[in-house]
Protein backbone atom coordinates (compact mmCIF):
# COMPACT_ATOMS: atom_id res chain seq x y z
CA UNK A 1 0.00 0.00 0.00
CA UNK A 2 1.33 3.37 -0.91
CA UNK A 3 2.51 5.49 1.98
CA UNK A 4 0.21 8.23 0.74
CA UNK A 5 -2.89 6.06 1.18
CA UNK A 6 -1.60 4.49 4.39
CA UNK A 7 -2.39 7.73 6.23
CA UNK A 8 -6.12 7.22 5.69
CA UNK A 9 -8.62 4.57 6.71
CA UNK A 10 -9.24 2.00 4.00
CA UNK A 11 -11.38 2.99 1.03
CA UNK A 12 -11.64 5.97 -1.24
CA UNK A 13 -10.45 9.25 0.25
CA UNK A 14 -12.65 12.34 -0.10
CA UNK A 15 -10.80 15.49 -1.14
CA UNK A 16 -12.48 18.86 -1.48
CA UNK A 17 -14.29 20.94 -4.08
CA UNK A 18 -13.76 24.19 -5.92
CA UNK A 19 -12.07 27.14 -4.24
CA UNK A 20 -12.12 29.77 -7.00
CA UNK A 21 -15.89 29.80 -7.39
CA UNK A 22 -16.32 29.73 -3.61
CA UNK A 23 -14.03 32.74 -3.21
CA UNK A 24 -15.94 34.53 -5.98
CA UNK A 25 -19.12 33.96 -3.97
CA UNK A 26 -17.34 35.77 -1.13
CA UNK A 27 -16.46 38.75 -3.26
CA UNK A 28 -13.39 37.85 -5.31
CA UNK A 29 -13.60 39.77 -8.59
CA UNK A 30 -12.86 38.12 -11.95
CA UNK A 31 -9.28 39.02 -12.83
CA UNK A 32 -8.39 39.46 -9.15
CA UNK A 33 -5.56 37.25 -7.88
CA UNK A 34 -7.14 34.66 -5.55
CA UNK A 35 -3.83 33.79 -3.88
CA UNK A 36 -3.40 37.35 -2.62
CA UNK A 37 -6.48 36.84 -0.48
CA UNK A 38 -4.27 34.78 1.84
CA UNK A 39 -2.80 38.14 2.83
CA UNK A 40 -5.79 40.46 2.42
CA UNK A 41 -8.80 38.28 3.29
CA UNK A 42 -7.45 35.29 5.25
CA UNK A 43 -10.72 34.95 7.16
CA UNK A 44 -12.70 34.39 3.96
CA UNK A 45 -10.14 31.88 2.71
CA UNK A 46 -10.33 30.06 6.04
CA UNK A 47 -14.13 29.91 5.79
CA UNK A 48 -13.88 28.03 2.48
CA UNK A 49 -11.42 25.58 4.03
CA UNK A 50 -13.61 25.06 7.10
CA UNK A 51 -16.72 24.51 5.00
CA UNK A 52 -15.04 21.60 3.23
CA UNK A 53 -13.82 20.07 6.48
CA UNK A 54 -17.37 20.31 7.85
CA UNK A 55 -18.81 18.74 4.70
CA UNK A 56 -16.60 15.70 5.04
CA UNK A 57 -13.36 16.35 3.15
CA UNK A 58 -10.62 14.09 4.45
CA UNK A 59 -8.15 16.14 2.41
CA UNK A 60 -8.43 19.88 1.89
CA UNK A 61 -6.24 21.88 -0.46
CA UNK A 62 -4.76 25.36 -0.06
CA UNK A 63 -5.46 28.70 -1.73
CA UNK A 64 -2.08 28.63 -3.50
CA UNK A 65 -2.97 27.37 -6.97
CA UNK A 66 -1.46 30.37 -8.77
CA UNK A 67 1.25 31.10 -6.23
CA UNK A 68 4.48 30.35 -8.06
CA UNK A 69 6.61 33.45 -8.37
CA UNK A 70 6.21 33.23 -12.15
CA UNK A 71 2.42 33.29 -12.06
CA UNK A 72 2.25 35.93 -9.31
CA UNK A 73 4.45 38.22 -11.40
CA UNK A 74 1.44 38.79 -13.67
CA UNK A 75 -0.17 40.54 -10.68
CA UNK A 76 3.03 42.25 -9.60
CA UNK A 77 3.13 40.01 -6.54
CA UNK A 78 6.08 37.72 -7.37
CA UNK A 79 8.11 39.04 -4.43
CA UNK A 80 5.37 37.88 -2.05
CA UNK A 81 5.40 34.28 -3.27
CA UNK A 82 6.90 32.77 -0.13
CA UNK A 83 4.59 34.69 2.20
CA UNK A 84 1.48 33.90 0.17
CA UNK A 85 2.29 30.19 0.18
CA UNK A 86 3.12 30.08 3.88
CA UNK A 87 -0.07 31.94 4.80
CA UNK A 88 -2.16 29.74 2.52
CA UNK A 89 -0.75 26.59 4.07
CA UNK A 90 -1.21 27.95 7.59
CA UNK A 91 -4.85 28.88 6.91
CA UNK A 92 -5.68 25.38 5.67
CA UNK A 93 -3.72 23.75 8.52
CA UNK A 94 -5.74 25.79 11.01
CA UNK A 95 -9.06 24.87 9.39
CA UNK A 96 -8.15 21.20 9.02
CA UNK A 97 -7.00 20.71 12.59
CA UNK A 98 -6.81 17.00 13.15
CA UNK A 99 -9.96 16.30 11.12
CA UNK A 100 -8.36 16.46 7.67
CA UNK A 101 -5.04 16.32 5.93
CA UNK A 102 -3.76 19.28 3.92
CA UNK A 103 -2.47 18.76 0.39
CA UNK A 104 -1.09 22.04 -0.95
CA UNK A 105 -2.27 23.14 -4.39
CA UNK A 106 0.41 24.03 -6.95
CA UNK A 107 -0.84 24.99 -10.41
CA UNK A 108 1.03 25.63 -13.66
CA UNK A 109 3.31 28.62 -14.06
CA UNK A 110 1.31 30.11 -16.92
CA UNK A 111 4.44 30.15 -19.10
CA UNK A 112 4.71 27.88 -22.13
CA UNK A 113 8.05 26.06 -22.46
CA UNK A 114 7.23 25.27 -26.07
CA UNK A 115 6.96 28.98 -26.85
CA UNK A 116 10.26 29.73 -25.14
CA UNK A 117 8.61 31.77 -22.38
CA UNK A 118 10.56 29.97 -19.67
CA UNK A 119 13.20 27.27 -19.16
CA UNK A 120 13.13 23.96 -17.27
CA UNK A 121 15.57 25.37 -14.73
CA UNK A 122 13.48 28.47 -14.10
CA UNK A 123 10.37 26.33 -13.69
CA UNK A 124 12.03 23.86 -11.33
CA UNK A 125 13.35 26.71 -9.25
CA UNK A 126 9.96 28.45 -9.00
CA UNK A 127 8.16 25.25 -8.02
CA UNK A 128 10.89 24.38 -5.50
CA UNK A 129 10.51 27.79 -3.88
CA UNK A 130 6.76 27.32 -3.64
CA UNK A 131 7.05 23.75 -2.36
CA UNK A 132 9.50 24.66 0.39
CA UNK A 133 7.33 27.52 1.61
CA UNK A 134 4.33 25.20 1.79
CA UNK A 135 6.32 22.44 3.49
CA UNK A 136 7.58 24.91 6.10
CA UNK A 137 4.02 25.29 7.36
CA UNK A 138 3.50 21.56 7.76
CA UNK A 139 1.27 20.49 4.88
CA UNK A 140 1.00 16.74 4.41
CA UNK A 141 1.62 16.52 0.67
CA UNK A 142 1.99 18.63 -2.47
CA UNK A 143 -0.58 18.51 -5.28
CA UNK A 144 0.54 19.63 -8.73
CA UNK A 145 -2.82 20.15 -10.45
CA UNK A 146 -4.33 21.24 -13.76
CA UNK A 147 -1.16 20.61 -15.75
CA UNK A 148 -1.23 20.04 -19.52
CA UNK A 149 2.43 19.98 -20.50
CA UNK A 150 4.52 16.97 -19.46
CA UNK A 151 7.75 18.93 -19.79
CA UNK A 152 6.54 21.57 -17.35
CA UNK A 153 5.13 18.87 -15.07
CA UNK A 154 8.50 17.12 -15.02
CA UNK A 155 10.22 20.30 -13.88
CA UNK A 156 7.45 20.89 -11.35
CA UNK A 157 7.74 17.37 -9.89
CA UNK A 158 11.50 17.80 -9.54
CA UNK A 159 11.04 21.15 -7.82
CA UNK A 160 8.26 19.87 -5.58
CA UNK A 161 10.20 16.77 -4.51
CA UNK A 162 12.99 18.96 -3.22
CA UNK A 163 10.74 19.81 -0.28
CA UNK A 164 10.74 16.21 0.92
CA UNK A 165 6.98 15.64 0.84
CA UNK A 166 4.83 13.22 -1.18
CA UNK A 167 3.87 14.67 -4.56
CA UNK A 168 0.64 14.07 -6.49
CA UNK A 169 0.60 15.05 -10.18
CA UNK A 170 -2.78 15.76 -11.81
CA UNK A 171 -3.39 16.77 -15.44
CA UNK A 172 -6.27 18.17 -17.53
CA UNK A 173 -7.43 15.78 -20.24
CA UNK A 174 -9.87 17.84 -22.28
CA UNK A 175 -8.60 17.83 -25.85
CA UNK A 176 -8.73 15.69 -28.96
CA UNK A 177 -11.85 14.22 -30.50
CA UNK A 178 -12.39 11.98 -27.47
CA UNK A 179 -11.43 14.70 -24.95
CA UNK A 180 -8.94 12.24 -23.50
CA UNK A 181 -5.71 14.14 -24.06
CA UNK A 182 -4.18 17.31 -22.71
CA UNK A 183 -3.94 20.30 -25.04
CA UNK A 184 -0.37 19.17 -25.72
CA UNK A 185 -1.64 15.78 -26.93
CA UNK A 186 -0.61 13.76 -23.89
CA UNK A 187 -2.66 10.61 -23.20
CA UNK A 188 -3.46 9.21 -19.73
CA UNK A 189 -1.00 6.38 -20.42
CA UNK A 190 1.80 8.77 -21.33
CA UNK A 191 1.03 10.87 -18.27
CA UNK A 192 1.04 7.88 -15.92
CA UNK A 193 4.37 6.67 -17.24
CA UNK A 194 6.02 10.09 -17.10
CA UNK A 195 4.70 10.90 -13.63
CA UNK A 196 5.90 7.57 -12.24
CA UNK A 197 9.29 7.94 -13.90
CA UNK A 198 9.65 11.41 -12.39
CA UNK A 199 9.17 9.92 -8.94
CA UNK A 200 5.75 11.31 -7.99
CA UNK A 201 3.63 9.42 -5.50
CA UNK A 202 0.24 9.57 -7.23
CA UNK A 203 -1.17 10.50 -10.64
CA UNK A 204 -4.52 11.99 -11.53
CA UNK A 205 -6.84 14.15 -13.56
CA UNK A 206 -8.74 17.31 -12.66
CA UNK A 207 -10.77 20.09 -14.29
CA UNK A 208 -11.56 20.43 -17.99
CA UNK A 209 -14.46 18.01 -18.18
CA UNK A 210 -17.70 17.32 -16.38
CA UNK A 211 -17.83 14.12 -14.38
CA UNK A 212 -19.37 12.07 -17.19
CA UNK A 213 -16.20 12.50 -19.20
CA UNK A 214 -14.02 11.30 -16.38
CA UNK A 215 -14.91 7.61 -16.27
CA UNK A 216 -12.84 6.53 -19.29
CA UNK A 217 -9.87 8.65 -18.21
CA UNK A 218 -10.01 7.21 -14.71
CA UNK A 219 -10.10 3.66 -16.05
CA UNK A 220 -7.13 4.30 -18.29
CA UNK A 221 -5.08 5.88 -15.51
CA UNK A 222 -5.91 2.95 -13.24
CA UNK A 223 -4.84 0.47 -15.90
CA UNK A 224 -1.63 2.35 -16.59
CA UNK A 225 -0.21 2.64 -13.09
CA UNK A 226 0.06 1.06 -9.67
CA UNK A 227 0.26 4.50 -8.07
CA UNK A 228 -2.83 5.89 -6.32
CA UNK A 229 -5.23 7.64 -8.70
CA UNK A 230 -6.49 11.18 -7.89
CA UNK A 231 -9.69 12.39 -9.63
CA UNK A 232 -11.41 15.80 -9.38
CA UNK A 233 -13.99 16.49 -12.09
CA UNK A 234 -15.87 19.72 -12.82
CA UNK A 235 -19.59 19.98 -12.12
CA UNK A 236 -20.20 20.00 -15.85
CA UNK A 237 -19.50 23.09 -17.95
CA UNK A 238 -21.15 26.36 -16.97
CA UNK A 239 -23.73 28.42 -18.82
CA UNK A 240 -24.40 32.10 -18.25
CA UNK A 241 -27.73 32.92 -16.66
CA UNK A 242 -28.35 36.60 -15.95
CA UNK A 243 -24.67 37.33 -15.80
CA UNK A 244 -23.87 34.45 -13.46
CA UNK A 245 -22.11 31.21 -14.32
CA UNK A 246 -24.43 28.33 -13.52
CA UNK A 247 -23.20 24.76 -13.32
CA UNK A 248 -26.03 22.40 -14.12
CA UNK A 249 -24.71 19.20 -12.53
CA UNK A 250 -26.40 18.56 -9.19
CA UNK A 251 -24.58 17.23 -6.11
CA UNK A 252 -26.54 13.95 -6.01
CA UNK A 253 -25.81 13.16 -9.64
CA UNK A 254 -22.17 14.06 -9.12
CA UNK A 255 -22.03 11.80 -6.08
CA UNK A 256 -23.57 8.82 -7.86
CA UNK A 257 -21.07 9.21 -10.70
CA UNK A 258 -18.34 9.43 -8.08
CA UNK A 259 -19.29 5.90 -7.00
CA UNK A 260 -18.67 4.82 -10.59
CA UNK A 261 -15.26 6.48 -10.45
CA UNK A 262 -14.44 4.61 -7.26
CA UNK A 263 -15.47 1.35 -8.92
CA UNK A 264 -13.20 2.33 -11.83
CA UNK A 265 -10.23 2.60 -9.50
CA UNK A 266 -10.12 6.16 -8.18
CA UNK A 267 -8.41 6.35 -4.79
CA UNK A 268 -8.99 10.06 -4.13
CA UNK A 269 -12.27 11.68 -5.21
CA UNK A 270 -13.56 15.23 -5.00
CA UNK A 271 -14.69 18.02 -7.32
CA UNK A 272 -13.20 20.90 -9.26
CA UNK A 273 -14.80 23.99 -10.83
CA UNK A 274 -18.46 24.50 -10.01
CA UNK A 275 -18.51 22.17 -7.02
CA UNK A 276 -19.01 23.29 -3.43
CA UNK A 277 -19.38 21.78 0.05
CA UNK A 278 -22.81 20.35 -0.86
CA UNK A 279 -21.08 18.14 -3.44
CA UNK A 280 -18.65 16.85 -0.85
CA UNK A 281 -21.47 16.14 1.60
CA UNK A 282 -23.30 14.22 -1.13
CA UNK A 283 -20.16 12.21 -1.91
CA UNK A 284 -19.70 11.43 1.78
CA UNK A 285 -23.31 10.22 2.02
CA UNK A 286 -23.05 8.18 -1.16
CA UNK A 287 -19.86 6.46 -0.03
CA UNK A 288 -21.33 5.73 3.41
CA UNK A 289 -24.44 4.30 1.75
CA UNK A 290 -22.29 2.13 -0.48
CA UNK A 291 -20.35 0.79 2.50
CA UNK A 292 -23.50 -0.09 4.39
CA UNK A 293 -25.01 -1.96 1.44
CA UNK A 294 -21.91 -3.74 0.19
CA UNK A 295 -22.01 -7.48 0.60
Amino acid sequence: MSSLLARFPAGPVISDGAWGTQLQNLGLDPGECPDLWNLTHPDRVESVARAYVEAGSQVILTNTFGATRLRLDAHGAGAQAVEINRRGAAISRLAAGDRAKVFASMGPSGKMLAMGETTPDELESAFAEQARALAAEGVDALLLETFADLDELGAAIAGAKSAGLPVIASLVFDSGPARDRTIMGTTPEQAAAAVAAAGADAVGANCGNGIDGYLPVCRRLRAATTLPVWIKANAGLPTMVDGHAVYKTAPDYFASRTLDLVAAGADFVGGCCGTNPAFIAAIRAALAGRRSTSA
Binding site: Q24, D29, P30, G31, A74, G110, M112, A114, M115, S175, G176, P177, A178, R181, I183, M184, G185, L237, P238, T239, M240, G243, A245
Partner: protein, 211 residues
Protein backbone atom coordinates in the same frame (compact mmCIF):
# COMPACT_ATOMS: atom_id res chain seq x y z
CA UNK B 1 1.38 23.30 -58.61
CA UNK B 2 3.45 21.88 -55.79
CA UNK B 3 6.87 23.11 -56.81
CA UNK B 4 8.53 23.13 -53.43
CA UNK B 5 7.55 19.96 -51.59
CA UNK B 6 10.55 20.28 -49.25
CA UNK B 7 9.23 23.58 -47.98
CA UNK B 8 5.68 22.38 -47.55
CA UNK B 9 6.92 19.24 -45.80
CA UNK B 10 9.19 21.19 -43.50
CA UNK B 11 6.25 23.28 -42.34
CA UNK B 12 4.04 20.23 -41.87
CA UNK B 13 6.69 18.47 -39.82
CA UNK B 14 7.53 21.65 -37.96
CA UNK B 15 11.20 21.85 -38.88
CA UNK B 16 12.22 25.50 -38.84
CA UNK B 17 15.81 24.90 -40.11
CA UNK B 18 14.58 22.77 -43.03
CA UNK B 19 11.89 25.30 -43.85
CA UNK B 20 14.41 28.12 -43.89
CA UNK B 21 16.79 26.12 -46.07
CA UNK B 22 14.01 25.16 -48.48
CA UNK B 23 12.84 28.76 -48.75
CA UNK B 24 16.35 30.00 -49.49
CA UNK B 25 16.87 27.29 -52.10
CA UNK B 26 13.61 28.20 -53.78
CA UNK B 27 14.55 31.87 -53.91
CA UNK B 28 17.97 31.04 -55.29
CA UNK B 29 16.20 29.05 -57.98
CA UNK B 30 14.28 32.16 -58.97
CA UNK B 31 11.02 31.60 -57.14
CA UNK B 32 8.66 34.51 -56.66
CA UNK B 33 8.31 35.17 -52.92
CA UNK B 34 4.61 35.96 -53.32
CA UNK B 35 4.07 32.62 -55.05
CA UNK B 36 5.96 30.83 -52.28
CA UNK B 37 3.56 32.28 -49.71
CA UNK B 38 0.42 31.64 -51.73
CA UNK B 39 1.28 28.23 -53.14
CA UNK B 40 3.34 26.66 -50.38
CA UNK B 41 3.14 28.38 -47.00
CA UNK B 42 -0.59 29.08 -47.05
CA UNK B 43 -1.66 25.57 -48.11
CA UNK B 44 0.79 24.02 -45.64
CA UNK B 45 -0.71 26.01 -42.76
CA UNK B 46 -4.20 25.08 -43.96
CA UNK B 47 -3.21 21.42 -43.77
CA UNK B 48 -1.77 21.94 -40.28
CA UNK B 49 -5.08 23.45 -39.25
CA UNK B 50 -7.02 20.57 -40.75
CA UNK B 51 -4.87 18.03 -38.90
CA UNK B 52 -5.38 19.94 -35.64
CA UNK B 53 -9.15 19.99 -36.07
CA UNK B 54 -9.06 16.28 -36.91
CA UNK B 55 -7.36 15.64 -33.59
CA UNK B 56 -4.16 14.40 -35.21
CA UNK B 57 -2.09 17.44 -34.43
CA UNK B 58 -2.03 19.04 -31.00
CA UNK B 59 -0.56 22.22 -29.61
CA UNK B 60 3.09 21.16 -29.97
CA UNK B 61 2.65 20.47 -33.69
CA UNK B 62 0.84 23.80 -34.15
CA UNK B 63 3.63 25.69 -32.45
CA UNK B 64 6.39 23.96 -34.37
CA UNK B 65 4.64 24.61 -37.68
CA UNK B 66 4.06 28.25 -36.74
CA UNK B 67 7.71 28.57 -35.81
CA UNK B 68 8.76 27.09 -39.16
CA UNK B 69 6.61 29.54 -41.11
CA UNK B 70 7.83 32.40 -38.97
CA UNK B 71 11.37 31.51 -40.09
CA UNK B 72 10.23 31.49 -43.70
CA UNK B 73 8.50 34.86 -43.37
CA UNK B 74 11.63 36.24 -41.78
CA UNK B 75 13.45 35.40 -45.00
CA UNK B 76 10.68 36.44 -47.36
CA UNK B 77 9.52 39.64 -45.68
CA UNK B 78 12.15 42.05 -47.04
CA UNK B 79 11.59 40.65 -50.53
CA UNK B 80 7.83 40.85 -50.17
CA UNK B 81 8.13 44.44 -48.95
CA UNK B 82 10.29 45.33 -51.95
CA UNK B 83 7.58 44.03 -54.21
CA UNK B 84 5.03 46.13 -52.35
CA UNK B 85 3.36 43.07 -50.86
CA UNK B 86 1.92 43.69 -47.43
CA UNK B 87 0.91 41.43 -44.56
CA UNK B 88 -2.46 39.81 -45.13
CA UNK B 89 -3.88 42.12 -42.48
CA UNK B 90 -3.03 43.76 -39.17
CA UNK B 91 -4.63 42.13 -36.16
CA UNK B 92 -4.86 43.49 -32.63
CA UNK B 93 -5.47 40.66 -30.17
CA UNK B 94 -5.98 40.44 -26.43
CA UNK B 95 -7.58 38.52 -23.59
CA UNK B 96 -10.55 40.50 -22.31
CA UNK B 97 -10.82 42.36 -19.04
CA UNK B 98 -10.88 40.20 -15.95
CA UNK B 99 -9.33 37.20 -17.69
CA UNK B 100 -5.69 36.27 -17.21
CA UNK B 101 -5.45 33.27 -19.50
CA UNK B 102 -3.27 33.61 -22.55
CA UNK B 103 -2.30 30.25 -23.97
CA UNK B 104 -5.19 30.25 -26.45
CA UNK B 105 -4.54 33.85 -27.45
CA UNK B 106 -0.82 33.15 -27.87
CA UNK B 107 -1.57 30.16 -30.07
CA UNK B 108 -3.90 32.22 -32.26
CA UNK B 109 -1.24 34.92 -32.52
CA UNK B 110 1.39 32.36 -33.51
CA UNK B 111 -0.89 30.78 -36.11
CA UNK B 112 -1.87 34.16 -37.58
CA UNK B 113 1.76 35.30 -37.77
CA UNK B 114 2.64 31.99 -39.32
CA UNK B 115 0.05 32.69 -41.99
CA UNK B 116 1.28 36.13 -42.92
CA UNK B 117 -0.74 38.41 -40.63
CA UNK B 118 0.81 41.19 -38.60
CA UNK B 119 -0.21 40.65 -34.98
CA UNK B 120 -0.15 43.19 -32.17
CA UNK B 121 -0.72 41.40 -28.87
CA UNK B 122 -2.10 43.56 -26.07
CA UNK B 123 -1.73 40.79 -23.49
CA UNK B 124 -4.20 39.75 -20.81
CA UNK B 125 -6.87 41.53 -18.77
CA UNK B 126 -7.25 44.14 -21.51
CA UNK B 127 -9.83 46.82 -20.83
CA UNK B 128 -12.15 48.14 -23.53
CA UNK B 129 -10.28 51.46 -23.35
CA UNK B 130 -6.99 49.75 -24.06
CA UNK B 131 -8.47 48.01 -27.10
CA UNK B 132 -9.90 51.34 -28.27
CA UNK B 133 -6.56 53.08 -27.89
CA UNK B 134 -4.89 50.33 -29.90
CA UNK B 135 -7.48 50.60 -32.67
CA UNK B 136 -6.88 54.34 -32.92
CA UNK B 137 -3.10 54.01 -32.84
CA UNK B 138 -2.52 50.90 -34.94
CA UNK B 139 -5.56 50.95 -37.25
CA UNK B 140 -5.90 47.17 -37.53
CA UNK B 141 -8.30 45.50 -39.91
CA UNK B 142 -9.18 42.87 -37.32
CA UNK B 143 -9.55 42.84 -33.54
CA UNK B 144 -9.45 39.46 -31.81
CA UNK B 145 -10.96 38.96 -28.36
CA UNK B 146 -10.12 35.91 -26.25
CA UNK B 147 -11.69 34.63 -23.03
CA UNK B 148 -11.28 31.30 -21.27
CA UNK B 149 -13.88 31.68 -18.55
CA UNK B 150 -17.64 31.82 -18.76
CA UNK B 151 -17.47 34.53 -16.13
CA UNK B 152 -15.27 36.81 -18.23
CA UNK B 153 -17.05 36.27 -21.54
CA UNK B 154 -19.45 39.17 -20.87
CA UNK B 155 -16.45 41.48 -21.14
CA UNK B 156 -16.56 40.75 -24.87
CA UNK B 157 -19.96 42.44 -25.08
CA UNK B 158 -18.72 45.32 -22.94
CA UNK B 159 -15.73 45.71 -25.22
CA UNK B 160 -17.88 45.75 -28.36
CA UNK B 161 -20.23 48.28 -26.76
CA UNK B 162 -17.14 50.37 -26.05
CA UNK B 163 -16.17 50.25 -29.72
CA UNK B 164 -19.68 51.38 -30.71
CA UNK B 165 -19.71 54.22 -28.23
CA UNK B 166 -16.32 55.35 -29.52
CA UNK B 167 -17.61 55.32 -33.08
CA UNK B 168 -15.03 52.70 -34.03
CA UNK B 169 -17.18 49.62 -34.47
CA UNK B 170 -17.33 49.93 -38.24
CA UNK B 171 -13.60 50.47 -38.67
CA UNK B 172 -12.70 46.95 -37.61
CA UNK B 173 -13.83 43.37 -37.98
CA UNK B 174 -14.13 41.64 -34.62
CA UNK B 175 -13.50 37.94 -34.15
CA UNK B 176 -13.87 36.16 -30.82
CA UNK B 177 -12.76 32.85 -29.40
CA UNK B 178 -12.02 30.84 -26.28
CA UNK B 179 -13.26 27.73 -24.53
CA UNK B 180 -16.75 28.93 -23.51
CA UNK B 181 -17.35 30.99 -26.66
CA UNK B 182 -19.89 29.85 -29.25
CA UNK B 183 -21.22 31.05 -32.59
CA UNK B 184 -24.50 31.79 -30.84
CA UNK B 185 -22.76 34.05 -28.38
CA UNK B 186 -20.85 35.78 -31.16
CA UNK B 187 -24.14 36.44 -32.96
CA UNK B 188 -25.82 37.68 -29.80
CA UNK B 189 -23.18 40.34 -29.14
CA UNK B 190 -22.74 41.35 -32.77
CA UNK B 191 -19.23 40.06 -33.31
CA UNK B 192 -18.28 39.57 -36.96
CA UNK B 193 -16.92 36.07 -36.51
CA UNK B 194 -16.19 33.25 -34.11
CA UNK B 195 -13.18 30.94 -34.23
CA UNK B 196 -13.46 27.43 -32.85
CA UNK B 197 -9.72 27.09 -32.16
CA UNK B 198 -6.34 28.53 -33.06
CA UNK B 199 -6.23 26.71 -36.37
CA UNK B 200 -9.72 27.82 -37.41
CA UNK B 201 -8.81 31.38 -36.45
CA UNK B 202 -6.63 31.63 -39.55
CA UNK B 203 -9.35 30.81 -42.06
CA UNK B 204 -11.82 32.95 -40.12
CA UNK B 205 -9.42 35.90 -40.23
CA UNK B 206 -8.76 35.42 -43.95
CA UNK B 207 -12.50 35.44 -44.68
CA UNK B 208 -12.96 38.61 -42.66
CA UNK B 209 -10.51 40.59 -44.76
CA UNK B 210 -11.64 39.09 -48.03
CA UNK B 211 -15.06 40.69 -47.80
Amino acid sequence: MDEYPDLRNAILTGSAPSAAAAAKKALEGGADPVAIVEKEVGPAMNEVGRLYEAGEYFVPELLLAARATKEVFGILRPLLAKKGAKPVARVVIGTVQGDLHDIGKNLVAAMLEGSGFEVIDLGINVSPDKFIAAIREKQPQIVGLSALLTTTMPAMKTTLDGFRNAGLRDSVKVMIGGAPVTQAYADSIGADAFGENAAAAVSVARKLVAC
